[in-house]
């Protein structure tokens, strides 16, 4: 109580944010009881029928929801891998460019797509990937004689497009942490290697790459929490019924079952499944990152 008296100003400062979090974060958490109900909007949370784990059983029995979990996992896992490998490689290559002007120009260009929304980028991709004379298919045809590809209409090509465009959007931005790590490498290491007559390739192999590994471990571990986050904004703005089989993910599935089919309890259960798996992975991965690299959020 003495603490409250002395620190009342502190509590007062946090109070507004706390109220917002209670209303817009913790109240919805209480709403997950709907996952155990046959929720009907007109009956509300208190009037709907309780059905135990029925919604979860449906989820693991329906072919489409199993497929959706699988799609989500594949797309998210590939995104995690390429979003680690591409910035890692790019940072090392960029580090070799000594002319500051060129290096800065390249950075300005590659960071840009990160700041544009998937609505804008989705609009651009729908335009340039169109089979009806889109820029990319026109180039493929006139340069390589390839028949137009259904990038957004064929399931396998859709997955490829989703992962490639994600990497295209994010690899530049992901480079930043690696560039920061590269700037922290002690120059005397390179000088010593130089004296020993090591080539640049040898220096990269034995100094640069090992120095970046801890950062790569942190980035990679922390992204594990995204293993069921395949990117709602991106998929929602690019997909269509033709590619549901290979491209539908948990978040879009939840949206359609809730908004279009009105199966609210079932949609909540699928969402809850995703939230719990993600939470478990986030907790584990932060523990690993803390143990291995002494990483802390605050």
């Amino acid at each position: 109580m003495r603490g409250l008296k002395r620190n009342w100003q502190f509590h007062l400062m946090i109070l507004p944010s706390l109220l917002f979090l209670i209303v817009f974060a913790y109240l919805p958490m209480a709403g997950i009881v709907m996952a155990f109900q046959d929720f009907k909007p007109w009956d509300g949370v208190f009037g709907s029928e309780w059905i135990g784990l029925e919604n979860f059983r449906t989820m693991f029995e329906r072919d489409d929801s199993i497929q959706v979990i699988w799609n989500t996992f594949i797309i998210a896992a590939l995104k995690i891998i390429f979003n680690l490998v591409a910035p890692f490689t790019f940072a090392i290559l960029l580090n070799e460019i000594r002319k500051a002007f060129i290096s800065r120009t390249i950075q300005t260009l590659v960071y840009l797509p990160h700041f544009l929304s998937w609505v804008i980028l989705g609009g651009i991709l729908l335009n340039i990937l169109s089979t009806d004379g889109g820029l990319v298919n026109r180039m493929l045809t006139s340069w390589f004689g390839i028949e137009p590809i259904f990038f957004l209409g064929d399931g396998n090509w859709f997955r490829f497009t989703v992962i490639a465009s994600e990497v295209w959007k994010e690899f530049g931005y992901g480079t930043i942490v690696f560039l920061a790590a590269l700037a922290n490498i002690n120059p005397s290491l390179y000088e010593a290697a130089e004296v020993d007559g090591a080539t640049r390739w040898k220096q990269t192999l034995h100094i640069t790459i090992p120095s970046l590994i801890p950062m790569a471990i942190v980035v990679g571990t922390l992204s594990l929490g995204n293993i069921l986050n395949a990117g709602f904004d991106q998929i929602f703005n690019l997909y269509n019924p033709l590619v549901y089989e290979k491209g539908d993910i948990l978040d879009t599935f939840v949206y359609r079952t809730a908004i279009e089919d009105g199966k609210f309890g079932f949609a909540t259960a699928v969402g809850l499944f995703k939230s719990i798996v993600s939470m478990a992975l986030i907790v584990i991965s932060y523990r690993i990152a803390y143990k291995v690299a002494n990483y802390r959020v605050f």
Binding site: Q9, F24, I102, I106, F115, V119, E194, S275
Partner: protein
């Protein structure tokens, strides 16, 4: 010296060219859309436009900015961006200051920190969230675009970490002079944190400008949509009902050029703040995510 060997020089040339090409690939799609937006209907529909406008014209832009639904969506987007950013920054400053104290001076700090962070790692999900919004009577209400996201935990943590770097002596001097914590926050912490606040403010602005899903989910009238949501319905769902074309315009305008113009106008504010953003964000990102 490796810099002088022939093989390294050859590598360097290829490397520079390769990275420049990658850099261009990141912006060329946008350049293409810009070129289409300034091209004539015939050229755009026949797919003759590459990276430069064919038969330059600005009719697509004239049509777009004369569309009342487009204009009202821009206004909604500007409103939500400004109000949302100010609210987020005020809340973040207020919450970050006490949480930046050591737990020895502010015991409840760790509890609060966990209450905040837990909302990042676990969410109720789409349906429960919708039910809450509905019960608060926020459906079809402008404030649904601002209030639910008002507390940005990530931004609060970034600011908290920044506040920790403020020299303790400054604060102690103020407290000894009899200033309360509110006064200390406003007259000591905020002035030295202006660069950090500018960074976070820009991030929040871009986030608000780009947000489209909340508008789609909670608003039913097109005239209430923010720009990003309006663009989503026009470009992705191909809903052209807000525009009527008279026969004369049909000769000049195609859906392609109008869409391209709208995409570009939607991206324009982000492109305008991008140079400022770039100046700051490298620092901002490193500030929060890389620590010894």
């Amino acid at each position: 010296m490796y810099h002088k060997t022939t093989s390294y020089r050859v590598f360097n040339v290829f490397n520079t060219v390769f990275l420049l090409v990658l850099g261009l690939i990141c912006v060329l799609p946008l350049v293409h859309v810009l070129a289409v937006s300034f091209s004539a209907k015939s050229a755009a529909d026949a797919n003759l436009v590459n990276l430069w406008p064919v038969e330059f014209t600005t009719v697509a832009y004239e049509k777009t900015i004369n569309n009342p639904v487009f204009l009202s969506s821009v206004w909604v987007a500007v409103k939500r961006t400004l109000i949302g950013t100010v609210l987020t920054l005020v809340l973040a400053c207020l919450a970050a200051y006490p949480m930046s104290k050591e737990s020895s001076t502010f015991k409840a700090r760790n509890i609060y920190a966990w209450v905040f962070v837990f909302t990042m790692i676990f969410q109720g999900g789409l349906v429960p969230f919708y039910v809450v919004i509905q019960n608060l009577n926020l459906i079809n209400n402008f404030w649904v675009l601002v209030l639910p996201g008002a507390v940005n935990v990530w931004l609060t943590i970034l600011l908290l970490n920044f506040f920790r770097g403020v020299p303790k002596e400054l604060e102690e001097a103020a407290l000894i002079d009899g200033a309360g914590h509110f006064r200390t926050l406003i007259s000591i912490y905020l002035p030295v944190s202006l660069p950090a606040l500018a960074t976070l403010g820009l991030f929040s602005m871009v986030f608000h400008w780009n947000s489209w899903f909340d508008g789609l989910l909670y608003l039913q009238n097109k005239s209430d949509y923010p720009l990003a949501t309006f663009l989503q319905t026009v470009i992705v769902q191909r809903d052209m009902s807000s525009m009527t074309f008279n026969p004369k315009e049909m000769e000049l305008l195609s859906q392609k050029t109008v869409n391209a113009a709208q995409i570009f106008l939607g991206a324009l504010p982000v492109l305008v703040v991008y140079p400022f953003l770039q100046k700051f964000f490298v620092k901002g990102l490193v500030l929060g995510s890389v620590k010894e």
